[in-house]
Symmetry: D2
Subunit: 346 residues, 4 copies
Amino acid sequence: MIYFNCDYNEGAHPQILQKLLETNSEQTIGYGEDGYCRQAADIIRVLCRCEDAAVHFVVGGTQANLTVIDAALRPYQGALCAVSGHINVHETGSVEATGHKVLGLPHQEGKITAAQVEEAMQRHLSDDSAEHTVQPKLVYISSPTEFGTIYTKSELQALCQVCRRYGLYLFLDGARMSYGLAASGCDVTLPDLAEFCDVFYLGGTKCGALFGEAIVITNPELKRDFRYMIKQKGGMLAKGRLLGIQFLELLKDGMKLYLQLARYADGLADRIRQALTEKGFALVCQNTTNQIFTILPDKAVQTLSEQFVLSLDEKVDGSHRMVRICTSWATKAEDVDRLIGEIQKL
Amino acid sequence: MIYFNCDYNEGAHPQILQKLLETNSEQTIGYGEDGYCRQAADIIRVLCRCEDAAVHFVVGGTQANLTVIDAALRPYQGALCAVSGHINVHETGSVEATGHKVLGLPHQEGKITAAQVEEAMQRHLSDDSAEHTVQPKLVYISSPTEFGTIYTKSELQALCQVCRRYGLYLFLDGARMSYGLAASGCDVTLPDLAEFCDVFYLGGTKCGALFGEAIVITNPELKRDFRYMIKQKGGMLAKGRLLGIQFLELLKDGMKLYLQLARYADGLADRIRQALTEKGFALVCQNTTNQIFTILPDKAVQTLSEQFVLSLDEKVDGSHRMVRICTSWATKAEDVDRLIGEIQKL
Amino acid sequence: MIYFNCDYNEGAHPQILQKLLETNSEQTIGYGEDGYCRQAADIIRVLCRCEDAAVHFVVGGTQANLTVIDAALRPYQGALCAVSGHINVHETGSVEATGHKVLGLPHQEGKITAAQVEEAMQRHLSDDSAEHTVQPKLVYISSPTEFGTIYTKSELQALCQVCRRYGLYLFLDGARMSYGLAASGCDVTLPDLAEFCDVFYLGGTKCGALFGEAIVITNPELKRDFRYMIKQKGGMLAKGRLLGIQFLELLKDGMKLYLQLARYADGLADRIRQALTEKGFALVCQNTTNQIFTILPDKAVQTLSEQFVLSLDEKVDGSHRMVRICTSWATKAEDVDRLIGEIQKL
Amino acid sequence: MIYFNCDYNEGAHPQILQKLLETNSEQTIGYGEDGYCRQAADIIRVLCRCEDAAVHFVVGGTQANLTVIDAALRPYQGALCAVSGHINVHETGSVEATGHKVLGLPHQEGKITAAQVEEAMQRHLSDDSAEHTVQPKLVYISSPTEFGTIYTKSELQALCQVCRRYGLYLFLDGARMSYGLAASGCDVTLPDLAEFCDVFYLGGTKCGALFGEAIVITNPELKRDFRYMIKQKGGMLAKGRLLGIQFLELLKDGMKLYLQLARYADGLADRIRQALTEKGFALVCQNTTNQIFTILPDKAVQTLSEQFVLSLDEKVDGSHRMVRICTSWATKAEDVDRLIGEIQKL
């Protein structure tokens, strides 16, 4: 079977493993205070053109999300979020487990708009009994989203403006960051994110590393004592350097490896999208990153599932289903050829 | 100004205050273990025809809700609830503050159906990555609902059945219990609630008492160590007898005072509903309890607001607004006459 | 049986009940925003000579403690507290249930010192791995303490100074406030508390009211959005005026009733202390408030328990036990005479 | 500088890295449901002679501790623990952050006894107001302890018996498991742990792996839905197989590598202990695992710190300090020679 169900079926890019091998017997201090973590953080600050940013490495995305959100909010505050957002759907209530409500907003292809945030804040502020309701204080977005779409620069700018107007923190979940940065049509850069967001992270797990996410905090209010938060939530790796080393490899030389791997995966996804479209299968949204969402007849799903593992989402009607197909840095071109061949035969 | 905005603008029914006066200098032990609480609990067990029920008194509704739900759930479990439910909207995220997600379902006049619960459970159970999502374990309903409607016996029975089939707890918030029990067309009794629900409460605060809610637990799984929960959440009144005495007065002689006060308030509400309908104003829902939800032109709202305090809900369009009008045991008939007079003049 | 086990065996002082009766049928808005609450808050601000203080009323002490502490702390911060402190022992882990560790310090007759706080902070700040430990951010004290002792003005001043030096909040639990203010030898006033503490409360439940505590916040950092916190924790009474009315009666005319009731109770306690001392029974501490802690032979305990309900604390050795005797505003002088008579007969 | 401050200064044993390299390009499903995790779990069940045990892999120790404890307890329950226990001191209040109090007991060289647990339970059960206090429900121990000592079989058996008698869960933190199993004088085996404990874990991070702990649950009550807990707390690694592969290497062939590495480290530690003793420096406790706690004059600390990084603990008096020295699977024999040489020269 060939796996197209997600972008974390394999280990890490060989270059990263190689670096872990080379550095294996060095002695360093623990908990992310070693030289590798420092170097990786410095590189990120340079890439973001934000020399004051605080950079922290944690093992995974759920951890990153719950730690950032719990650190940012007072007990009665909540996070505005697309109802399709990862924290609202697929993290087993981890944000609520820290005591905070996720305030769902309808999504458009996984995205929310500045106007929606504006409206939510107006509703809260004009509510006579506002204190009987959760106070929105943070806006959580992901880009690429859970539908593989990406926010444009102007969308992010608008979100940033509404957030600043209402004193909200803007937090961007970048678990698939590289696939967005490398996508055709993406007009957002890391310095843009550093400018527009109060905090965001660069994904490693789904972007070529064994595991790990790099949290970048630009708002001074959110920097204070953040390491206490990481430790308390169980996200502080004893051998923290493992994270530093991986991000160093991915991001050095102007994010060379990071972007190269993503460009490759996005390209493969484009080919699959084209094959689906040519065959007349609807795409759920027009996107350019490594995730493809399409509607397939049950029969087609069954046929493809004989050779390929796809991610089967909800049924659309009695005979169709939404399906997710993912490529990654590790996807083989010949496997994509084979998948396209089978799509054409359907 | 005459207040019609809610059902807790005054103190307690005089008979209750009288009893508090009479018993004031008696010495009893504290924390709800006195004779009055015991007697009140016994009466409730008889009224519910459920001799094994555990009965606990707490000061208010938010406290009752958060204590019951936190006691019932393991950390990764959540509560299914109408999106309009009190815990989802008007308790400042108190359930989330105990670590649990409220899983919103679309409502019909404040109610949810067994079919919706069934569907939510099927979705969860058929989800390959169920453990990445919050596990539904409790169904929260209120009756009367936040729209003044009441669940029928067959609706409750259906909810009970689906809950038992899937191992869910059914929890009914009865903050306005008496207005429901006394409402025309209500076919539900306390023994029905004891049979269908795992836990529910009889409201005092909005039903004639100074304050207080009586929690009735019928499911043995939920009874264990419940007093620890009440104490931890700050709901254990040092002079617990104050709660026992009040419920004793309300519920003795077959809920005589409890029902009489509610019947009176429901009747006044019927008169207002009739006046609104005759004048051509739409009711948001056809209900028979003490809350009236209607759509009024902004002008009418303005006129009425000169003499009456109403509860102004959301705008319906550019020139209309949803308005809540409440009666209670303390509402004066002459004030209702006056309100009706003004409605007719509109 | 005559109850000397605690100071909340009866209802409220008759003058308070009378006021509740008089105001019962008035209509006011809910949730503590009525005129009575405003008046009571104004009086407290005047009594404290602190016109900027925020004043909030909640139903009970556990609620007051957990709400204040959770509002004050970020997730990784904890509260320094005597190991004998109420929050550390007798509130079923309510502070931990909000996510915060209580950091116990050894006590001297229920009290902790500025030097202990200093030492705890030095230890934390000099710890290389401080972020692996809970960060102390608040000092919780009670006065009168759980042993009936009171902090002197210079002790409070010293605590205040060390707290300000290290950026700690000083929080005083005043559940038995009046018994302290009225005690012989007490050199602390409300303006002192307003000056030294960031937040404190005046107890009602144990000091003559039916129930209720008045939280006074002087530190602006702690004032923000406090009503959201009260609502979320279930401490916001729908008929909030019940609290305002009671504190109004207790505190008007220069705390006349509040002090008078406490002076009476403290005086009765002095008589009991004298009787115990004359009879040769050791007092656990030399205090002047309404709680008496003494060591009695088991036989004496048994004899007294035939007529009186005492609070039996831990066994001191094979044949002795620590016993708490409480007086209150409601204690009858003749019952004290009788108790003293029995002590003398032992 | 040569690091002797902890046992996680290097990466992983080369054999483990090699295996990660070999399997790197394989495709597996995520989140710990792959074949490697299954195999590793099977091996652990065989090693424990407990075919029903549930085995889960998480990234680190704090995560393991907080997830197990939160899964085991109801909201008002707490964990008995040596005051020196890792969860009480060095995890930034992570257990409290899940809502539970850690109930400290005095320790003897890092250990607590069955008699202490018995006494704590007797005190709780005989307390008239038990529900005002936290209910002990779990006993947390670590072995090797934070002082490097290990529980004997009879000590564990006694703890097990008292726990079963009182319905407590016994949870053993085995972050340094291998150093205990391999220690001279250790009479405890994995089957013993499976018999005596309700849940325990085998450490990887400090025992030769890059990272990871293997949680073994033998009590059926604790097995239910545990993966939901892991996911919610952020401990579920997307590429879960990384954990399975590492434990497979460590534990295959009868724990060959796991024990070999530990035996080596324990042996080096024995040599250092002997050198210290011969030189007349006191050992804080007589232990046989890879951690050494000794009291050194400040001058000696200063001298050694020129070449070696030691873990400096609290000051013992004006001129002495407690120091921790650690060996690990990665410690070089020649570095130990050098350290011993310097000790002899002091």
